[in-house]
């Protein structure tokens, strides 16, 4: 008995609220860009904007994969380690003379394999997502270091390393990669039934199961997507820095989670979107970029990022409480 006629005066439709929240985030991003344009001379230079887009691109893709997992009320702590690990794998394959296309394909498949392993640990072994992905985080870094014996593998393939520096239609190729990933992601999460199942599993696993949803399959799917997106980012990173190094992308999993949460994803599951984490990632990238331009100590950047997460998520919570 929780009957009150309040539900008749019901909360405004959720989608409208989400759009509003999306607009607030875009507003924040625009605000940051305008302010930085005024206070620094070099922000609105083509070089800096390209830089910003490159910086944000990789976090954005990671955040997107992470969002699928968080919507199922899980977490993937391993994505940073996967990026470092797969950069090593890719460099290794190229060094061994494997063609670029095959190297990329194999690297992505390894991402799929890691995701399958996560799914297996969660579904079959009953491990909490936090634990299994924490375990792969540390193990993958270890395996990567073993392969390279603690050093880095140089990539001497010019066409491959040029890719990350290239522009297409005046926009950095890395940013195009975000769009390449985001469009199918949007179709998947917001327009397909598997997207709905993702939300249902995150909201109430048992109810989803009793409604005929393949709950285990959906969980596998979420972790496979997250790990594969991370492997893709590993490929992009290898192209950008022209080396494979297992210690790269340290702490990126937290950047990805932060971007997702700033973008309105709820860590309790069943709330999230595709556009949110993308904007979240570019907000974080803008702060880092702006701080660099303003010569703010990089230690301060971390502090500012932390405060920003608290403020944005707090306001998001307030909004949710008002419109349950």
């Amino acid at each position: 008995m929780t009957a009150t006629p309040t539900e008749i005066a019901a909360p405004p439709p959720r989608r409208k609220v989400n759009i509003l929240f999306g607009l607030t985030l875009i507003g924040l991003l625009a605000f940051l860009w305008i302010v930085l344009g005024f206070v620094t001379a070099s922000f609105w230079t083509p070089l800096n904007i390209s830089n910003l887009l490159r910086q944000g691109a990789m976090t954005a893709i990671l955040a997107l994969g992470q969002t699928f997992v968080i919507i199922t009320a899980g977490i993937d702590l391993s994505v940073g380690a996967i990026v470092g690990f797969t950069s090593v794998i890719l460099a290794w394959l190229l060094q061994a003379g494997v063609p670029v296309w095959a190297s990329i394909l194999i690297t992505l498949l390894i991402g799929v394999g890691i995701g399958v392993f996560h799914g297996f640990g969660i579904v079959k072994m009953g491990l909490p997502p936090f634990i299994i992905t924490l375990a792969t985080l540390t193990s993958l870094r270890g395996i990567g270091l073993l392969i390279t014996n603690g050093s880095t593998i140089n990539i001497v393939n010019e066409p491959f390393t040029n890719f990350a520096r290239a522009d297409f239609l005046g926009v950095p190729s890395l940013f195009w990669m975000v769009i390449l990933v985001a469009v199918p992601s949007y179709v998947f999460l917001h327009l397909s039934r598997w997207g709905r199942y993702l939300f249902a599993v995150g909201s109430n696993r048992e109810a989803a199961r009793l409604s005929g949803v393949r709950v285990n399959g959906i969980i596998y799917l979420a972790y496979i997507l997250s790990a594969t997106f991370a492997a893709f980012v590993g490929v992009l990173l290898a192209s950008r820095i022209a080396i494979g190094n297992a210690t790269q992308a340290d702490g990126w999993e937290l950047q990805a989670i932060a971007s997702s949460v700033i973008g309105g994803t709820s860590l309790f599951g069943a709330v999230g979107s595709v556009q949110g984490p993308l904007i979240g990632a570019f907000i974080l990238a803008t702060i880092n970029n702006g701080a660099n331009l303003l010569n703010v100590n990089s230690f301060w950047q971390r502090i500012i990022t932390g405060l920003l997460i608290i403020v944005i998520v707090y306001f998001d919570q307030l909004r949710r409480r008002r419109n349950p």
């Binding site: 008995m1 929780t2 009957a3 006629p5 909360p11 009793l210």
Partner: protein, 516 residues
Amino acid sequence: MSLEEVSHRHDDSATLTEANRIPAGTPILELKGLQKNYGYVQALKPATMTFLAGEIHAIVGENGAGKSTLIKLLTGVITRTAGEILWCGHPVALATPNEAIARGINAVHQEVVLCPHLTVAANLFLGDEVNQYGLMRKREMEKMAQAVLDDLGFGLPAGVPLADLTIGQQQLVATARAAMRGTQFLIFDEPTAYLTRQESAQLFKLIRRLQGEGVTIVYISHRMEEVFELADRVSVLRDGTHVGTRTIGETNEAELIALMINRSIEQIYHKEEIPIGDTILDVRGLSGPGFEDISLSVKAGQIVGLYGLIGAGRSEFALGLFGREKTTSGEIHWMGKKVDIKDERAAMELGIALAPESRRDQGLCLNLPIGLNINLPVFKRLSKGPVISHSEETQNADQQIRDLAIKTPSRRVLVSAMSGGNQQKVVIGKWLSYGARLFIFDEPTVGVDVGTKAEIYRLFAKLLKQGAGIILISSYLPEVYELADRLHVFRRGQLVASHDFHAATHEEVLSEAIGV
């Protein structure tokens, strides 16, 4: 140590002694034009009511009539828009839950809000622990708790985790907890919704005992027979309006129902003559976790009722049949063919739909929109290739909302924002468009008001006419008794008796279920 002695730990509190001095039969709590608006909606229109010290005062009304709003106002969960509340003759704010508790106003809710992992003793003393030198006196609390439980005749151990008890036992613990706090005014919000008959009887005993000690009881229930068994007076709410208060001796069920819904229900239990068709399901000797050697069959146009106490194995049988739990032996024949139901999807593909027992744990994705919940079993059908057709999605959701008269402004509203009755309609509605041949409804009318019940029963008839069969699981005997063409009685995981429509009396069925 008895309940009274433990509860007198709080007698030094000034506000409580004030309430103690109010003689029985005089007003302890008065509402004067009490009103609550949410935006433009009047959840409670100006209400003037009086509660007398030491009485049991029932409140009845349909879902959304304003009962919950009233409770929330009295327990300080929400603040009023206008009006006055007099406690022992003085105006009080009741602005916070703590203020209400400090004055001795407490509530026991339908769904127990305690900590399942803590022991019964720890729950009884939660937030009110016995301390010495800043350390908890765990053993002493356990002893006191055990003494209280024994004194109440619950026969419950104080040292076990609350989660090990049945919902009914947990309810008793919640009540004992309220009583221990020196409560003067205790509100029960549909306490028996999930209780077995014996548990209800135990609860009633406790309620009468509290009344004997001068505690004022407000009792909210959908079950008329409980109101007449227990209450001294009854107030009726309808659409946020207090439409009347009657002394129990001066009214009857018909009058109360008429007041509640402002129309007369000829027959709540809507049963039509529907031709019985072919056998849809034939279960032979099915065993699994919690049920053993169950044989029964369901024909088209037939309601098969499963009656028993909670924990008798009916829901477990349903989950086994639906492929959610592994069955260990026995055969299932579907339309004359032996089938193997290995998981939920296999059951659904045959044409079985299950509206499960607990809407919160099994039935609904509470923090998702109504539309998504309704469409969840049929998204595949609503999709063209990988993409869901927006128009079909909208159409299916809106059609169920319309057909079931679910009260909501939009299919986008979250299920958690709806009342219990409307939530139950969503649980049922999600299966209507699935096109099942066999519907299993497990406790479909728990926490649902009379009007909605009647709607649900009419819906059963509609499904039967379309050639479906229904398995109706209920702990509410009148319901299965009046609706089921064939009634099976479960006890301790076994099917102990079967009757045709009205072939046995209530008493016979009941004693079969209890096993006396």
